[in-house]
Symmetry: C2
Subunit: 496 residues, 2 copies
């Protein structure tokens, strides 16, 4: 009897090895197809400390060409040291088309630990679950193949593994205080993992693998990876349908109805400029100390006066604490990732001010009109952008959006002046003239954008800029007011 049992076990082991070898060969063949199909893949490996996440990843990558994958281990930083939104390390780590990112624990571990450590409240926990679901949907809808694995071991197994590691002086350092804490609080972690998975299982399902059986887990993970890729290869790149979420919106006027006549006298301008810049400089100090992130977004017609406006805002700021991000056409490595990636990677750290000279709204303007993305893509973008901006304001950012507005006659006058002034000629290109011809189409797109994305937390401000000086004073006033409010609120929160 025992001999039969032993033989059966050996056979099973052989079968398993043969299966693993077979799947690996299939994966090897898929690599090239994945690259040709330009499909990006994200593999999230979560699980208990000492469950074998690292080894599992090693099994997954062992036959993949190093040019095609990247392993990321986002460190779990205590909340107070984090200077970016909590999704930042994950969104910035997404792969290029045709490549695979493996995450050695990720958004689940990050949120669960912080919740159990009371670094975030119940309410923040719920908000993060929502943001994670948004994030995963955005990835899926943007054509990413996402595989989520949880590697499970029982408390007894974890105890034994931690013991083995601690007993060996060579590996002792691998067991952290955090791991021991998790072990002591195994039950609480169990409940928290369970709750997290239940709440994030609908869109992209979790796969729980048994970490106590390494080889079986490796086989299953390889199989899941193969199937995920095959699914993408069979069905082609997925494009999500537009999807409406309820965002409280501010009613915006149509551009055609905006009165562009307001002006300011030179005297008033000088006085106000000085006063507001001084105030802004003071507020920058407070912002910096209180670590409030500030994001200023500039959009507007060509020659509307964005550059000069930005310079007047930047002048009183301490250069150590702000940054201007000019947004041009995406570079190849940006084009081959989710369109929001290049904005995530440019976010300011808390306490800093970032001025975006053009923004993610290119998606629903130039990309829409020039056909750089599909109709579904830009239709979906309104919602995705509202989500993105809510993620930023949930993080605590002050987010202010300006549409710098002029009329067609003013644009023509400024174009002509640029053309005729040698040191301004670089500012005017053939493309500007071409865009001008599409004024009406742009106006439709901008009107739709203003209606659909002027949320309560991140409203649009239409700035009348036929008189540039008037426009500068108006933006400065809006910025000063918003920062004063943020500093006050921050103060109140701290007093509570």
């Amino acid at each position: 009897m025992l001999k039969d049992f032993e033989r059966k076990k050996a056979e099973d082991k052989d079968t398993l090895s043969a299966e693993i070898k077979h799947i690996r060969e299939q994966l090897l063949g898929q690599q090239q197809l994945l690259r040709d199909a330009k499909l990006p893949v994200i593999v999230l490996i979560e699980g208990w400390a000492a469950a074998g996440k690292g080894s599992l990843i090693n099994e997954l990558i062992s036959e993949i060409d190093p040019r095609f994958y990247h392993v990321v281990s986002p460190a779990i930083v205590p909340e107070k040291e984090e200077r970016f939104p909590f999704l930042y390390p994950f969104f910035t780590a997404i792969p290029e088309n045709g490549k695979i990112t493996f995450l050695d624990s990720g958004w689940m571990e990050s949120v669960v630990r912080k919740y159990l450590r009371h670094e975030i409240t119940k309410e923040e926990y719920r908000s993060r679950i929502r943001q994670i679901n948004e994030f995963e949907r955005q990835l899926r809808d943007g054509g990413y193949l996402v595989l989520k694995i949880f590697l499970h071991i029982e408390k007894k197994e974890q105890f034994e593994r931690l013991h083995v590691l601690v007993d060996n002086p060579e590996t002792e350092w691998r067991v952290t205080q955090e791991d021991l804490w998790q072990h002591r609080e195994y039950r609480r972690f169990m409940d928290a993992y369970d709750d997290f998975m239940k709440k994030t299982d609908e869109l992209i399902p979790w796969h729980i693998l048994d970490g106590s059986r390494r080889k079986t887990a490796a086989r299953d993970a390889l199989k899941l990876l193969k199937e995920t890729i095959q699914d993408g290869l069979d069905n082609g790149r997925f494009t999500g349908d537009p999807f409406e979420e309820e965002f409280p919106l501010k009613k915006m006027p149509r551009l055609a109805d905006v009165d562009l006549s307001p002006t300011i006298t030179d005297e008033e301008y000088k006085k106000e400029l000085k006063r507001l810049q001084k105030r802004l400089s003071e507020l920058h100090n407070i912002i910096y100390r209180k670590k409030i992130p500030v994001i200023l977004c500039y959009e507007g017609w060509d020659a509307a006066g964005k550059g000069g406006n930005i310079r007047r805002v930047a002048y009183p700021l301490d250069p150590r604490g702000f940054d201007v991000q000019p947004i041009a056409s995406p570079l190849p490595h940006e084009l081959s990732r989710h369109y929001l990636w290049r904005f995530w990677t440019r976010l300011p750290r808390s306490g800093h001010i970032c001025i975006f000279d053009r923004t993610w709204y290119g998606r629903v303007m130039v990309e829409r009109l020039e056909g750089f993305c599909s109709e579904k893509d830009w239709q979906r973008a309104y919602n995705e952008i509202n989500e993105f901006e809510r993620q930023l304001t949930d993080w605590g950012a002050v987010l202010i959006k300006f549409w710098i507005h002029i009329d067609q006659d003013t644009q023509l006058a400024r174009f002509t002046e640029r053309q005729n002034t040698p040191e301004k000629q670089w500012k005017i290109t053939e493309e500007d003239w071409r865009n001008r011809e599409k004024w009406d189409q742009y106006e439709v797109a901008v009107d739709e954008m203003l209606q659909k994305t002027s949320t309560k937390n991140a409203p649009w401000h239409i700035i009348e800029s036929n008189d540039k000086k008037y426009a500068r004073i108006r933006t400065l006033k809006i910025i000063v007011k918003a920062l004063e409010k943020a500093c006050e609120e921050h103060f109140e929160q701290m007093m509570e």
Copy 2:
């Protein structure tokens, strides 16, 4: 008399304002020319705490279009927390062609502070001065315009300024313990700044400005910036001459003389692979704990077996602690910076292993042969690369370089096999066949590279790879031996 004096003073002030206005206008005109000429500019502003570095930068940037500049304030991190070579924050911050980077204190402050704080020894200080001179020369020779300004104030002036800041609750936080320490140790800092400037003045001179006279300093800095740019515009992009430094070199055989016959039996291969991978895994643990950075460089003929070799090395490594960096043709944003920039930005943090699949040696191979850089450029590169690698080993990195070597017949056999095996076809391109035709030219370039860059601290290893398995065991043995030595040395240093 007093009235005359007052009038004179007011006139001077007016003259100064007019001058500043005039220079700003000139700078405005230069922007576009700078962009057209694709000249990159680096402005380093060093100086005493409270000397007004931030305000000076504000004066410099106020009229420059935000698309053309970037302000960087590299934080001065205590030595023990630094996980990168000390030049890392500066080399990674260099601008693209046509743009300006302003550094709000930089390599001078970083080195001087650490030296005065006894975080680095006298010897390390001298080594860093040498590295800084190398860095500045590399920038200049690569066409960068570099301007170095030191903003000086006397001890009394510093006292008053710190006092004003501390007395105001709004600005009190700006004065750090570090600043107060500097003030107490004013004399020592004075000597250290002086020594540093003397030793780094020859190649790119320092300009000392009087920080107690803000307007004059602003005028002078604006003028210096204007002149620096004008110099570049008048004389065109500078290309440095090749320049030989004495590096202790290891004698290397010519490729033609390498015996490619060694092989290994399958049995021996399996045994050795297992043993060496196990040992490598153990060593990775130690490396990680001791925070030793490891850089493995792979170069070699197409189809020499680099990929498979790298996979065997990577397999036993913890994916949290290593990274493979495949190096392809530079992307546009890489091309428009110094050729070493894309390698600086890819360096591993200490304790991590980075495997470069192709490297900076592209400069003296493909870029040389395809004419992607001038003859002066690649001739100069041998020296620059030796300097770069010495900077890495001075940092403490283990740097191992492999030339994976095969003969032409073996390459042909492997190309043909790839062509005939569907799942390997992606590995073979038209370019590979074209490169093959240039075998002889490449051989000349590779021989020269091996002779000129096999330094004692970073020697080349020619790996006989007609038998891929033999090659894998050889590289593993070399890596294991080097890591064992590094761990030992590290241990000895700690015991001293």
